[in-house]
Symmetry: C2
Subunit: 191 residues, 2 copies
C-alpha cells in the first residue's frame, strides 16, 4: 500500500484528497452538489474569463441514463453507485473579444481541482474520468463546437471497498506521485 510522503510543507487537503471508486449509491441534494460548483467558481482564469461549464445529471433524475450510457463499461461497473455525473467542458474563445484562448483548458483544470477538493472537504468522493464517449456526449448533450469536452466526474457518497469487484478493489488505494525533481527544473527544461 502506498503511504503518501511529502518532503515539503503542504496543506492536508492536497495530500489527503484522492479518487476512490467505491460509492454507496445514495443520492445527494442539490445543496450538496452546488457546493462543489461554488468552489470551482472561484478558480482563477486568464482575463477572469471563466471558460469552464459543467453539465450534470443526478442519479434520481430523468437525465441520469443519458449521462451514464456515455461511460465505458469499465467505468459503468462502479459509477452506477455515483450520486451525480458531471461533464466539464470549456469555451475555446474568450467571451470579451471572441479570440482563441490559449489557456481555457488549463483554466478549466483549475476549476476542476477546486471542485474535487471541495468534494473531498465535504466528505464526498469525486473521481474524474476520460473513459466515456466524447463524440456522443457532444451530440446527446447538445454541446456546440466552440467548446472542448474535457472530462467526466463521478460524485458520490463514500462506499465500501469490499463492494467493489476484485479487480477494482486492487486499485482502490491512494496513488503515489513523481518526485519533485522529476517535474520541477531550475533555469531550463531538463529531461
Amino acid at each position: 500500500m502506498v503511504k503518501r510522503v511529502a518532503p515539503f510543507k503542504v496543506a492536508d487537503l492536497f495530500i489527503n484528497r484522492w479518487s476512490p471508486r467505491a460509492m454507496s449509491g445514495e443520492s445527494i441534494t442539490d445543496f450538496e452538489l452546488m457546493s462543489l460548483f461554488e468552489a470551482a467558481r472561484w478558480a482563477p482564469s486568464s482575463y477572469n474569463n471563466q471558460p469552464w461549464r459543467f453539465i450534470y445529471a443526478k442519479r434520481d433524475s430523468k437525465n441520469w441514463s443519458k449521462f451514464f450510457d456515455l461511460l465505458v463499461d469499465f467505468n459503468k461497473q462502479w459509477a452506477k453507485n455515483a450520486a451525480a455525473l458531471v461533464l466539464l467542458i470549456s469555451r475555446k474563445k474568450f467571451e470579451y473579444n471572441d479570440k482563441p484562448s490559449r489557456t481555457h483548458e488549463l483554466d478549466a483544470g483549475a476549476a476542476s481541482e477546486n471542485f474535487s477538493l471541495q468534494g473531498f472537504l465535504n466528505g464526498l468522493v469525486v473521481h474524474g474520468m476520460e473513459g466515456f464517449d466524447y463524440d456522443k456526449s457532444r451530440e446527446v448533450l447538445g454541446i456546440p463546437e466552440d467548446y472542448t469536452i474535457l472530462a467526466m466526474y463521478a460524485v458520490g457518497k463514500p462506499g465500501k471497498k469490499e463492494d467493489l469487484s476484485k479487480e477494482l478493489q486492487e486499485r482502490e488505494e491512494m496513488s503515489d506521485r513523481k518526485k519533485i525533481e522529476e517535474f520541477v527544473f531550475e533555469g531550463n527544461f531538463k529531461k
Copy 2:
C-alpha cells in the same frame, strides 16, 4: 470594490485566494518555493500521468533575467518585484504508452491550482500570466515540441498596493465571478 459572496458552502481558501500584483521585491527560500510544487505534485491526472512540468528562476539567480525578459512590458512593471518566475508546461503524450493525452492541459490546470492555493495558504502572492513570449520561452528554456507551454506564474511576498502604478492600483482588487447558473447546467448544455 467587489465583495465576494458565495451562495453555497465553500471552503475559505477558495473564496479568499486571489491574484494580487503587488509584491515586495523580497526573495524567498527554496524551502518556501518547494512547498508550492509539493501541493501541485498531489493533483489528480488521467492515469496518474502527471503531465505537468515547472521550470523556475529565483530573483537572485543567474536565470532570472532570462525568464523576466520573456514577459510583456505590462507584466514587467510589477513582476520585477516577484521572488520567482515559474513556467508551467505539460507533456502532450502519456508516458506509459506515448499516445496523445486528451487531458494533459486540464491535468496541469489542476496542479496549477494546488500551486496557487498553497501559495495563498503560505501568505505568498501567486499571479498567473499569459502575457509573455511563448515561442521565445520554448527556445531559451529548451522546451521540446512534445510539451505545451501553458502559463507563467509570478510568486512573491506581498507588497503594498500604493507602490504600484496608478493604472495597476485600480486593478488591484479581488475580481468577481459568473453566477452558478451561468456555467452549471442540468441535463444538457444551455447557452
